[in-house]
């Protein structure tokens, strides 16, 4: 291909141009020696708006929040060496949770690679296992093609993070630019449509069910709005109960009549029992993670299983299934619904009625009940009030990782997809606040709340400065129990209440900390002040940090203890004795 003169430019200019051609509106980054040419090109050319972060990990989580709330890829720009290594946590997080991300890293000039140069690291070597794919570009004439390929790979098939490592001399060099329309990938062509015979088999199996369940996950949300609509349709035509993983919350509305709540380790009693006792399970865009299945050899022993996933490697990985349909959720559900209608399929109404009666008995256990107290704020109560006062289609929730995350998942109700951003697979403390910044960048007028813990929030607290700089009015709602709560809970259950290093010693004054950054700090101590504080948080312009002091010793329940099956759960009203002996010696060895 002979480029005309107007398509000749420097590598750095190509980066800006490629981002523009890919429709990227915002990037999250931090400058440094090895990316200065790209920053110069950003300064001199019209391109995406750059959000300056305070730490590269923050940039990756912002990109994740941006991506998860919009369905578009998040873009990160960092320098070589420490810039790249600081991005590793967020890259791994995005890989585990299937978040589309393109991370551009600077690299030392090609002639210095391998010489232990200043701020050199083997970025492609380090990020190989924590990206979907990565590239080191050594020739400026390959750069445009690689950048477009990176976006293609990040967003097609099972989404994930892609790193493009660009040495500084390649950024300076001049070469030919090609547009995205000229790029066709040689090898990577994920299958979108499921095999027709598998779809027929799936419909046949589902239509014969007496106790069906739809087990949905983040793949439904990744597949897009159409997938969500089709899932709701499938639920309606079948009448089957619906549960979801942590990542899938919002794909079926929490107010929907067939909603059982989240399943898994801290899932509801009804969802887990229904999973255990069902006779046909339809797993849609989920991956039978160990937090979901509990004890594998007792996982849903009587059911035949259908698994819909775009990633062939997920089928039969942890759990053997009868029908594995490889394809995009929206495509597969569309075809399944078409076959369902064409064959006039209908579930046995009597059996389904009995199944729902059984489910209603489990629901009657009211597993999320807790005992409110007059003196201290219960964390569950705090989330319930937060939900009541902030719910709406324009509210986005992010979380850190730990007890507060599980309470948020249990007590905050999601009606729509893309409203819930959390670190599910990797479990990254420090995810929520930068993710909230990313969400707010994408949705400037939305109410964006990071539900946090006092330990997690300190892991990326520096990004409060980013929120101030860009006038992003994120709200940080800290459930402060002065413990790394989930660690403490496990120490109580597994390690004889020996609270080794889980007390949040020497906590900062979060109100003053917020003020030091230029944000507003609020504190809430009394249950009676909860509503007023939440209202003040919403009404106060700009970033707000709420330090909500909650019961220090509250545990997250229900809980499937390690090594137990779905129908063997701990409930909140369990006696102290039952909690102390809840986990067998074998279970203690599991994580």
């Amino acid at each position: 291909m002979t480029p005309n003169s107007s398509e000749t430019m420097t590598g750095a200019e190509m980066v800006v141009r490629a981002l523009k051609d890919q429709g990227v509106a915002h990037i999250f980054g931090y400058p440094g020696g090895a990316v200065l040419p790209i920053y110069d090109a950003l300064f001199q050319n019209e391109g995406p708006e750059h959000v300056l972060v305070r730490h590269e990990q923050g940039a990756t989580h912002m990109a994740e929040g941006y991506a998860r709330s919009t369905g578009k890829p998040g873009v990160v720009l960092v320098t070589s060496g420490p810039g790249a290594t600081n991005a590793v946590t967020g890259l791994t997080d995005a890989l585990m949770d299937s978040i589309p991300m393109v991370c551009i890293t600077g690299q030392v000039p090609t002639h210095l690679i391998g010489s232990d140069a200043f701020q050199e690291c083997d970025t492609v070597g380090i990020t190989r296992p924590c990206t979907k794919h990565n590239y080191l570009v050594k020739d400026v004439n390959d750069l445009a093609q690689v950048l477009h390929e990176a976006f293609y790979v990040a967003t097609n098939g099972r989404p994930g993070p892609v790193v493009v490592d660009i040495p500084k001399d390649v950024q300076f060099a001049t070469g030919a630019y090609v547009g995205p329309e000229n790029v066709v990938h040689k090898t990577y062509h994920p299958k979108l449509k499921g095999d027709a015979d598998k779809i027929r088999a799936a419909v046949e199996l589902l239509a014969g069910a007496k106790k069906p369940i739809l087990y949905t996950g983040g793949g439904v949300i990744n597949s897009g709005d159409r997938a969500t609509a089709l899932l709701r349709e499938l639920a309606e035509v079948t009448g089957a109960p619906v549960t979801s993983t942590l990542m899938g919350l919002g794909c079926y509305p929490a107010s929907g009549p067939q909603w059982l709540g989240m399943l898994g380790m801290h899932g509801t009693y009804e969802a887990n029992h229904a999973m255990h006792d069902c006779d046909v399970m339809v797993c849609i865009g989920a991956r039978f993670d160990d937090r979901i299945t509990g004890r594998l050899d007792l996982f849903s022993p009587g059911s035949r299983k259908i698994h819909i996933d775009i990633d062939p490697a997920q089928i039969n990985k942890n759990v053997k299934v009868e029908v594995g349909v490889i394809g995009d959720v929206a495509h597969v559900l569309e075809d399944m619904l078409a076959v369902w209608r064409a064959s006039n399929a209908k579930l046995d109404a009597e059996a389904l009625k009995d199944w729902w009666q059984e489910i209603d008995r489990w629901r009657a256990r009211n597993c999320l009940a807790y005992r409110p107290s007059g003196e201290t704020i219960k964390p569950q109560q705090a989330i319930e009030r937060l939900y009541e006062l902030t719910k709406g289609p324009n509210t986005y929730i992010t979380t850190e990782v730990g007890q507060h995350q599980m309470w948020a998942a249990q007590y905050y109700k999601f009606e729509e997809p893309n409203r819930w951003m959390t670190s599910g697979g990797l479990g990254t403390m420090g995810y929520g606040m930068p993710a909230a910044v990313g969400v707010q960048v994408a949705h400037p007028d939305a109410l964006v709340i990071d539900i946090a813990g006092e330990a997690s929030i300190q892991m990326c607290i520096q990004e409060l400065s980013t929120a101030i700089q860009y006038k992003l009015p994120i709200k940080i709602f800290i459930l402060n129990n002065e413990y790394m709560g989930m660690v403490r809970q496990w120490q109580q259950l597994l390690h004889g209440s020996r609270y080794s290093n889980s007390y949040s010693e020497a906590l900062p004054d979060f109100v003053k900390l917020a003020e030091a950054y230029g944000a507003t700090g609020l504190r809430c101590v009394e249950p009676g002040d909860l509503d007023a504080t939440i209202r003040a948080m919403i009404e106060t312009p700009g970033p707000v940090v709420v330090d909500c002091l909650v019961d220090k010793m509250e545990n997250v329940t229900p809980m499937i203890p390690s090594g137990r099956a779905h129908n063997d759960m701990l409930l909140g009203d369990a006696s102290e004795d039952r909690i102390e002996n809840a986990i067998s010696d074998e279970g203690k060895m599991l994580v």
């Binding site: 492609v124 070597g125 979907k132 794919h133 099972r158 594998l296 490697a313 039969n316 990985k317 994580v591």
Partner: protein
């Protein structure tokens, strides 16, 4: 210590039978592609019993990796699907499952000895169709090609006859019949 059941981390309690499988992997010949493949094996705890890699099409910039691995059928199936989803991988074939594959390996083997020991080494080499490619008055280097177990057997026989050193290429494998591997 007994391993607990009940987690994805301890799935192998049932000890399903372990079999050897030969996988042929067609990949883009680009920097780092071998690291991706072997990183997948080490990262996910799979075995590599033998590995060969070489460019097979200069114009197409394709390399072929042959890996002999071992594991329960389910794990080998996982290995195949995990390899298949690596971006630069064109195709993966489990040649053991297709059942019609030829496997060959080349070995260079050095033996040192004199007198009857030396004569016996030569006689064995002839029986195994090994070629002498270097000789001194007290040593031979043989070149031998064959299935891996034939090479193993030759090593066993040479051990008492002054075996000094062995160098093996690892297995190259190809399916019988007129069809090529899908690219």
């Amino acid at each position: 210590m007994r391993q607990p059941t009940g987690s994805a981390y301890f799935m192998d309690d049932a000890h399903p039978p372990i079999a050897s499988h030969t996988l042929a992997i067609l990949v883009d010949n680009e920097p780092g592609v071998l690291a991706r493949v072997i990183g997948l094996f080490s990262g996910r705890g799979y075995n590599i019993d033998s590995l060969t890699v070489s460019e097979v099409s200069h114009e197409g910039q394709l390399s072929r990796i042959t890996i002999v691995t071992s594991g329960p059928a389910g794990v080998v199936e996982q290995i195949k699907t995990q390899l298949d989803r690596l971006v630069p991988v064109h195709s993966v074939v489990d040649l053991t499952l297709t059942g019609r594959a030829l496997e060959r390996e080349l070995m260079l083997i050095k033996a040192r000895g004199t007198g009857e020991q030396r004569a016996e080494a030569l006689r064995l080499a002839e029986a195994f169709r090994a070629r002498v490619i270097d000789a001194t008055t007290e040593s031979f280097i043989f070149e031998i090609t064959g299935k891996p177990d034939k090479l193993d057997q030759f090593i066993v026989l040479m051990a008492p006859l002054g075996l000094v050193e062995v160098s093996r290429t690892g297995v190259a494998a190809i399916a019988r019949g007129p069809e090529g591997m899908a690219g």
